[in-house]
Subunit: 468 residues, 2 copies
């Protein structure tokens, strides 16, 4: 009987040893920075109750949730006929709610909000947490978009201080500095976007204006204006937005120009208190960034909008300087994340690192350390049972020093053992026969330079030096 070669479900991936070494390098780097800033890791279950997840990601998001069938005889007792629309068409949405109570985590934000509310009495606020876990979305798989992927979120909740925004910027700076990726950090403030709509005379059109502006890096200003017009923004309003988007220069120039406009200096003459408040926040944040010192260029990007509606203050986006891939990290401040679960009044700010995109940048720019390829330092080739027994205590001592050692498990042809070392990128091989056993020595060869040397088996320091 021919057995079908098995595969992973559509849109999901296996990670082999080299991919894992590279992914761990990214996560370990991020984690070490988080730790230096006092953030602590939590984990939540893969499955959440559907009542926790539904309605949090819009109608489209609800459709993309993976639902988990209740266990046991879950269809019995359900009057399936009630869900028949006509013919063999059923109301799958309603029926799935009858037979599924749980769904797979769609992001880390909603489970985090659920966590904070559930454990509020055990948490010391301000609560600084990070979380690195996979999420699942029933999206149509395509290049770079998967149905299972890792998110890497870091948030502070329970503090309105802009020091938190600063620390996120510092962490971004440190992470990409350590990874060797040159980045630009873009900052804006949701209150400015509200201000834009106000001085454009259309305070009800914040979302339309934001969505249109957000497309500026993909389409030209004329198309953006067309879109705003189609949403009913007046010609005067469009003129004000055009005025804003043409502002150029560094932070101070932009801040001063925006201040004049928010104070009534735009074509509409309208004053925006919210916009001015947003400018004050940016002023303080950029002052803190100056004081603390950040390597990466940080700019005020007036066209930065970010999709998520729950942001209420600073918004961030990080782009790689030498590789076109969109945002590799982003986030912002939200004022009411836990309100959906009945705990209002907790302000928070957070960012999320895009692990898959960071992987692609590092891979494309060849920035992964070469050492990640070779986990094992030394392979002991094996010529026979006696030789293996000779090697064992030597290998044990080297491993106790933390050196990654393999012993080839079979006494096969040396060529095969060499091939294994090569395929596994093991840099050193040791071959020991009867003459080494007699002499009590170890022979080690550096496979890249070809250098070969013999050591007394008990001269650990010399061996460790050679393996460096």
């Amino acid at each position: 009987m021919a057995v079908q070669k098995p595969s992973t479900p559509k849109g999901t991936r296996d990670f082999g040893q080299i991919e894992m070494a590279r992914r761990n390098y990214i996560f370990d780097t991020i984690r070490s920075v988080f730790r230096c800033f006092g953030f602590q890791q939590i984990e939540t279950p893969a499955m959440e109750n559907l009542s926790t997840l539904l309605g949090k990601y819009g109608e489209e998001g609800d459709k993309l949730l993976f639902r988990v069938l209740n266990s046991g005889d879950c269809f019995s007792g359900v009057d399936l006929e009630n869900f028949r629309l006509e013919g063999d068409c059923f109301n799958s949405k309603a029926l799935s709610l009858k037979v599924c109570e749980k769904g797979l985590r769609y992001d880390l934000t909603v489970p985090f909000a659920r966590y904070v509310v559930q454990h509020q009495n055990d948490i010391s606020f301000p609560f600084k947490r990070y979380q690195i876990q996979p999420v699942w979305r029933a999206d149509r798989p395509q290049k770079g978009r998967y149905r299972e992927f890792y998110q890497c979120d870091v948030d502070v909740i329970g503090s309105t201080s802009l020091l938190n925004e600063l620390e996120l910027v510092q962490m971004v700076d440190a992470v990409f500095g350590k990874l060797g990726i040159g980045v630009n950090i873009h900052i804006n403030n949701r209150k400015l976007l509200t201000g834009f709509a106000e001085i454009a005379g259309a305070p009800d059109k914040v979302t339309d204006i934001t969505v249109a502006i957000d497309k500026l890096d993909k389409i030209c200003i004329e198309k953006v204006e067309e879109e705003m017009a189609s949403k009913g923004l007046s010609a005067n309003g469009i003129a004000v937005i055009r005025q804003i988007l043409s502002i150029d220069g560094g932070f101070e120039a932009k801040r001063n120009a925006m201040k004049a406009l928010f104070q009534g200096g735009s074509a509409s003459g309208i004053v925006s208190e919210t916009g001015l408040k947003g400018l004050d926040e940016l002023d303080e944040l950029f002052g803190l960034i100056d004081t603390a010192g950040v390597e990466a260029p940080v700019c005020l990007d007036l066209s930065l909008a970010r999709g998520l509606n729950y942001y209420t203050g600073a918004i961030f986006e990080v782009k790689a300087r030498d590789f076109e891939i969109g945002s590799i990290c982003g986030g912002g401040r939200y004022d009411n994340l836990t309100g959906i679960f009945g705990l209002p009044g907790l302000s928070g700010v957070g960012i999320s690192f895009g692990a898959d995109r960071i992987y692609d940048v590092l891979s494309s720019l060849d920035l992964f350390p070469a050492s990640l390829e070779s986990a094992t330092k030394l392979l002991f080739a094996v010529m026979g049972q006696e030789e293996m027994k000779y090697i064992l205590p030597i290998a044990s001592r080297l491993r106790q020093e933390g050196v990654a050692i393999e012993i080839y498990p079979e006494a096969t042809k040396l060529r095969k053992q060499f091939e294994y070392a090569e395929r596994r990128s093991i840099p050193f091989i040791s071959i020991n026969g009867s003459s080494e056993i007699e002499a009590g020595s170890v022979n080690i060869k550096n496979l890249s330079t070809g250098t070969q040397q013999s050591f007394p088996a008990n001269d650990l320091p010399a061996i460790l030096e050679f393996l460096k």
Copy 2:
């Protein structure tokens, strides 16, 4: 509207920061040992095709699989009436196959077998991999049994050498040595169990005999004999098994006694070639263990059976010496794991570490390092905006040295900031006001000893020394 306090699904858990620090400590320890032996990490997706999972864990296992509903309008086009048994009773099992193609991973073994078969052309055999990921089982939750829990598996596949068995024993020894848990390592060989049945004159009753013997640590020998009798084992057969189980002493004594029995010296006079082969393997393995040197006591445990039917050679079980909790690690050799996916002839051997039980042992014996509680070393208290700005560059420099630093984000009452340090187990606090700013100094207090000291802000070495 009253909002219901949200919770996690039954049988699943959140892990808070201290639990995570402890769990990471366990996993990092295990990982570091795996790495020293040249094992490399892989990961597989949480969801597998049900065709990969079904039929691999017995009928009971199939029932415990969490199934994931197909996305979209998955009920339409399915003739639900076909699945009606009577009234509102449905054949949920058959119907679920119509609307679910995927299930959550039930263990790491089957996905590993699937991985090896799928990627066989890219793998360098012998393939030494480890995998640390959660698995899901729709078991009835109870104390110590969860619906989501981590498994931690390490296997070599593609080599029959007993060196692999040795290395697993060495890794067990190293892991529990590093964790400070005293353990006994029990070893047996499936071929001995086959031999038992053969010399008991009941070669077809291997499973019955194995299952009965396996209960020896819970019930007395008389009950075990009763069970074997009820399965149809003859009085003579039972006498042979009793003879085997009464064998006492160290490895050599047991080996010699068993050798005599397998050579025809038992009451039945039957010779067991399989049993003798098993003894040869054990002989070689114990010889290797002697040569390599292992700290933990290793014993031949003739009553060790382990449930899984796919084991064909050595079987292992590890028990904590100072805490009664059952096996905390176990495994064995299997000869045909990938055969289920059409790739026969690959022998492998592996073990699995029980993370939850190891956690319980460390916790009960108070063996977690105290340092895990305090991730952050130093909290800078904040008295006002000026003081915060004074602190920022100092904090940055300390973080660059890898010290975990927090700055309290608000200039609230000092008492509150002290409380925060205490609740978070932060060992040092630094309070700096106008006099420190004037003097260019930093004042740091050791919260456990009460010692307080001032340093010039740029004397990093002295500060680092005080924080040690």
